[in-house]
């Protein structure tokens, strides 16, 4: 399994860090959870320890893909050392329920703690990468995904409004992250991939959300950061002719370090999972993405 166009050979989502297996090496114990996922100091401690363990050039936050959904009102099981935060129960029976959810309040909850954690890490001169999730990942926590798939097929206007709400929320979130001085924002939405949606539905999603969302980011780009795309997202853009690849000369270094080096030089990079810390750019080239 790999990218349809990028033709990456390894599975694209195979680089998760197993906190449970590493807890002794990290010097944390079961009693630290789940507070360590939801408290600024705990978040800073855990992300720093993981960075050191991986010999990574940056600290990565958050530790899950539930932050946005939780901030919108989703019910999350915060987990423990073995299993991280994940959705617990759906709160929306339909898309109208979703549209009635309040906007994200960045001054409370885990999202607030994570943003403060970025500021704390930056004050210690750490480089920080922050993941943000796309509409399918967010909605999948809040409702049965069949509701979304049906709407894409049969309720065009409604899904447009839903995507609009999510886009507004994510653009606001990006502003908050910029203010916190994050170095890299990594965007992914694994459910919105060719394998799951197929060409026709994928094209609709790219047309209705992914492309306009990234165009908006492109237009308002802040040179102090890099926007990294999950390679599945890159693939979806290439498959629908909404982006081009431009090879950029770099050094034969680790992909993560190369991404750091691209800050201020390129806007979008996205040829490999950003969690893959063993991928070396042997040909000294990295693929930048140009949004059409």
């Amino acid at each position: 399994m790999g990218g349809v166009i990028l033709k990456t050979k390894k599975p694209l989502c195979a680089y998760e860090y197993n906190i449970y297996e590493k807890k002794h090496a990290l010097g944390i114990n079961d009693l630290d959870f789940p507070k360590i996922y939801s408290d600024k100091d705990g978040i800073v401690t855990l992300s720093t320890k993981i960075k050191e363990d991986l010999n990574s050039p940056f600290c990565k936050l958050p530790f899950c893909h539930t932050l946005e959904a939780e901030a919108l009102g989703g019910v999350i099981d915060l987990g423990n050392s073995k299993f991280g935060p994940r959705g617990k129960q759906y709160i929306c029976s339909n898309l109208e329920d979703f549209l009635n959810l309040d906007m994200i309040n960045y001054k409370k909850g885990r999202i607030f703690e994570n943003i403060n954690a970025i500021k704390s890490l930056k004050s210690k001169d750490e480089k920080v990468l922050f993941y943000i999730s796309g509409p399918f990942t967010i909605l999948n926590i809040l409702m049965d995904p069949i509701i979304i798939f049906k709407a894409i097929r049969k309720e065009n206007q409604l899904i447009d409004i839903v995507f609009k709400k999510i886009m507004i929320e994510l653009l606001k979130f990006i502003e908050e992250l910029k203010e916190a001085k994050v170095d890299i924002i990594s965007y992914g939405d694994p459910l919105a991939s060719f394998d799951i949606l197929g060409r026709k539905t994928l094209a609709q999603v790219v047309e209705k959300f992914t492309h306009p969302f990234l165009k908006e980011i492109d237009f308002n780009f802040d040179k102090s950061l890099l926007f990294h795309l999950c390679p599945k997202t890159t693939d979806s853009l290439l498959l629908t002719d909404k982006a081009l690849i431009k090879e950029v000369i770099t050094e034969p270094i680790n992909y993560q370090k190369a991404c750091i080096n691209m800050i201020g030089k390129e806007k979008f990079i996205g040829e490999m999972c950003i969690n893959n810390n063993s991928f070396i750019l042997k040909n000294s080239k990295i693929k930048a993405i140009k949004i059409n």
């Binding site: 989502c13 197993n18 949606l197």
Partner: protein, 217 residues
């Protein structure tokens, strides 16, 4: 009359294949009024449509979302037709348990496998997602399951599959229950390493695998 029945069955199958749940409902109600045997509507209408969808999925014409929407249409039809089935004649269905292992909430693939298994005539008990390992064992014992299907999309939760296999051994029921696994990070090699009976890369393969393991046609 025969051509009307054939016509209705054909329309039912097409409506499932085209994911038109409103049409499935309408045709199912029309079929009930016609008085033809309900089992034929289920098998030669709904299941036929689902099988065609499965075929398109194998040919990579249909994708996961298409199959989910086809199944949604099929289940709408089943909701109408099933209550009109005559009382069961005692034929026992082969029972299976399915679920996403603990720590993981990605269930689209699991739902697909469940749908295809049910289409093939298996009775599936769906434990949902984020299922503790011990729950698989409890349910397997309760319903006298012949097989367990385990799914995960995350590498950090794969060990849960090994736990299920170990718990089956501890409960001395390992030999009575086939275990198949699947999901993004899963492989045949991993299946062998944990002592599972098999690995399937997609829902269609899962059905073939179980039929092979259980020696059913």
């Amino acid at each position: 009359m025969c051509s009307n029945k054939a016509n209705l069955l054909n329309k039912l199958s097409e409506a499932v294949l085209e994911m038109e749940e409103d049409e499935v409902v309408e045709i199912s109600n029309e079929y009930i009024k016609s008085g033809y045997p309900v089992i034929d509507a289920i098998m030669d209408g709904l299941v036929d449509g689902m099988n065609k969808a499965g075929q398109l999925f194998e040919e990579e014409e249909y994708f996961v979302t298409d199959i989910l929407l086809c199944s949604d249409a099929m289940y709408q039809g089943l909701n109408i037709l099933k209550p009109h089935l005559p009382l069961e004649d005692g034929e026992k269905k082969v029972k299976g348990i399915i679920g996403v292992v603990e720590g993981d909430t990605h269930d689209i693939g699991k739902n697909l496998v469940k749908i295809m298994m049910e289409t093939e005539g298996f009775e599936m008990i769906d434990l949902g997602r984020d299922v503790p390992s011990v729950k698989f064992i409890e349910e397997a014992k309760r319903i006298n399951a012949s097989f367990i299907c385990l799914s995960t999309l995350m590498t950090t939760t794969m060990d849960g599959m090994k736990e299920v296999v170990e718990l089956l051994k501890e409960n001395e029921i390992r030999d009575d229950i086939k275990v198949i696994i699947g999901g993004g990070p899963i492989s045949k090699k991993f299946a062998e390493s944990i002592g599972a009976d098999g690995y399937s890369k997609n829902a269609i393969e899962a059905v073939k695998l179980i039929k092979n393991l259980l020696n059913v046609s």
